[in-house]
């Protein structure tokens, strides 16, 4: 029984990083209708930036993290402004290829600048700090990840539901011509979404970096986050989060009871099953256009 609960607890912990990545991808998808495959690497470069501030510049942790968040937001906005907006007559496929291109460039840049070996992030909470409640080990880092995932989910949900800017973002996604007609600066909205999304993704990167830190560290969380976003219907924030936790928990239980080797594959098997049964995702409430 203890094993079972322990597995669920660590499933929730891994699910939280998937949830943050999923949220980041959903935000961009909501306005641009593009799955952003550069999401993981945007978070990667931000984590390395934070490490650089902490180790070579000896900055205080709070200042370094604050600057990293600013960096992440600017990076996202910059990529939208400098690369994606320049695409003439873009279609979704072309945009996806562009994001993959950005991803490879950033990955190459990080490996060249910082080296491909495992690094250590001087994070205030170490990966092995934790406490034990009723014989169940809970890592402090996991608690922090869980809290920040839930925090971002709630804030973003409220933002899209009630704020004027959030409403304008939804409007831009649904009909960009009509959005221009009511006076929304659609270009600026796109830039802002990329900034916010990059910031959410970077949080995941920063929280993963104390445990693993090398140029490929964001591969798995990004793909699983994307999987969660697809399962949640690509446009639903709570959907992506719930799906991310489901993936995290199922993956851990599978690894514990059935086969540790196929642990990472199980998430993708689940998506295939879900998409076969409910192609629009588990939580999507998409209105289908009348012809």
């Amino acid at each position: 029984m203890i094993d079972f609960i322990q597995m669920i607890v660590s499933g929730v912990a891994t699910g939280s990083t998937y949830a943050l990545m999923g949220l980041a991808m959903v935000i961009i998808y909501k306005t641009s209708e593009v799955p952003n495959f550069a999401q993981g690497e945007m978070a990667l470069v931000t984590s390395y930036f934070a490490m650089m501030l902490l180790t070579t510049m000896n900055m205080s942790v709070y200042l370094a993290f604050f600057l990293s968040f600013v960096f992440a937001a600017i990076l996202g906005a910059f990529l939208e402004f400098a690369v994606l907006r320049r695409a003439k007559e873009p279609n979704v496929l072309g945009m996806i290829v562009i994001t993959i291109g950005i991803e490879m460039i950033i990955l190459g840049f990080v490996s060249w600048k910082f080296g491909a070996e495992q690094k250590t992030m001087p994070f205030p909470i170490g990966p092995y700090d934790g406490f034990i409640i009723y014989d169940i080990y809970i890592s402090k880092l996991d608690v922090l990840t869980l809290v920040s995932a839930l925090f971002f989910m709630i804030v973003l949900f409220l933002f899209f539901k009630f704020s004027k800017l959030g409403l304008a973002m939804k409007a831009t996604q649904q009909n960009s011509v009509a959005a221009q007609i009511v006076g929304i600066r659609t270009n600026r909205i796109m830039m802002m979404t990329w900034g916010i999304s990059s910031l959410v993704g970077a949080t995941a990167g920063l929280l993963i970096s104390p445990t693993i830190m090398h140029p490929f560290m964001m591969w798995d969380p990004m793909l699983k986050g994307f999987a969660a976003a697809v399962m949640g219907g690509m446009t639903s924030l709570p959907g992506a989060v719930i799906a991310a936790y489901m993936l995290g928990i199922i993956e851990n239980l599978f690894g514990g009871y059935i086969s540790i080797e196929f642990k990472t594959v199980v998430a993708f098997v689940i998506i295939v099953l879900v998409l076969c049964i409910k192609p629009s995702g588990l939580f999507a409430r998409h209105y289908i256009k009348k012809v």
């Binding site: 409007a171 959005a179 009511v182 006076g183 209105y287």
Partner: protein, 258 residues
């Protein structure tokens, strides 16, 4: 009265298609101006050119609003100067509620209390929308979506309201209703530029009428004169003057203004 909008000799291309071939007209403040024409004459293109929705167009010519040139500006800048545009075929946001639409219509405004009042006013014009206030726009009927598009335009509190075929696809009763509302909006001080296929309806509410053919204006006049004009009657209002004097020879009038 002064001219609110002044379009001078604009030429618009869609890639290689020469759509507007030097059109000039003006919209007088406080009036309803109607542009009529057949399918493909370029009516909607003129409006899109004015709103800056066609990239890099107009190729030539000047568009002046309140005396200042607005061509080659971004759509949102043009909108912020007080021009509301209700596009053809009701471009609504499918997954926003009616209420959220009206809030989005007032996106550029900074007076929350005024916005609230205006939402009530729109619901007064279109009571059908009030019942659907919390329903997604995509689930509304065509007529309701058209009302919503007009209501969204009104939320801007525009000085100039541009309507692109408000009667498209509506039942005759709804068309009448919408036109009476257009008249009422105008009576409260909003200048209106109207593009229509339904010439009879458009000429009966407007004060000035223009006829567009193949990207050029071919006729301009007071609407009540146009309603009586022989050519307009025959080619746009569908009143036939085709009679045969002796019963064996029929002369069909065909006129092109080019």
């Amino acid at each position: 009265m002064a001219n609110l909008l002044e379009v001078k000799n604009i030429e618009t291309y869609y890639d290689l298609v020469y759509a507007i071939r030097g059109a000039s007209f003006s919209v007088e403040e406080g009036n309803i101006t109607a542009i009529l024409g057949n399918n493909g004459a370029g009516k909607s293109t003129i409006l899109k050119t004015i709103m800056g929705l066609i990239e890099d167009q107009p190729d030539k010519g000047i568009i002046e609003y309140e005396g200042k040139p607005i061509q080659h500006k971004d759509t949102d800048v043009i909108v912020r100067q007080g021009i509301a545009y209700v596009p053809e075929g009701r471009e609504v946001f499918e997954e926003l509620t009616v209420n959220e639409h009206l809030l989005m219509g007032a996106y550029t405004r900074k007076d929350p209390s005024g916005v609230k009042q205006d939402i009530e006013k729109v619901y007064e014009y279109f009571p059908a929308l009030k019942q659907r206030a919390n329903q997604w726009a995509g689930t509304l009927s065509g007529g309701e979506q058209q009302m919503l598009a007009i209501g969204r335009g009104l939320m801007l509190k525009p000085t100039l309201l541009i309507l692109d075929e408000p009667s498209l696809g509506l039942s005759p009763i709804l068309v009448k209703e919408i036109f009476s509302i257009i008249k009422e909006i105008n009576a409260q001080g909003t200048t209106i530029l109207l593009v229509e296929q339904n010439a009879n309806m458009a000429l009966s509410v407007s004060s000035t009428g223009l006829i567009l053919e193949n990207g050029r204006f071919v006729m301009k006049g007071k609407s009540k004169d146009l309603l009586q004009d022989k050519d307009v009657k025959e080619f746009y209002l569908g009143i036939k003057s085709e009679t045969s004097a002796k019963g064996f020879q029929r002369w069909k009038r065909k006129k092109a203004w080019r």
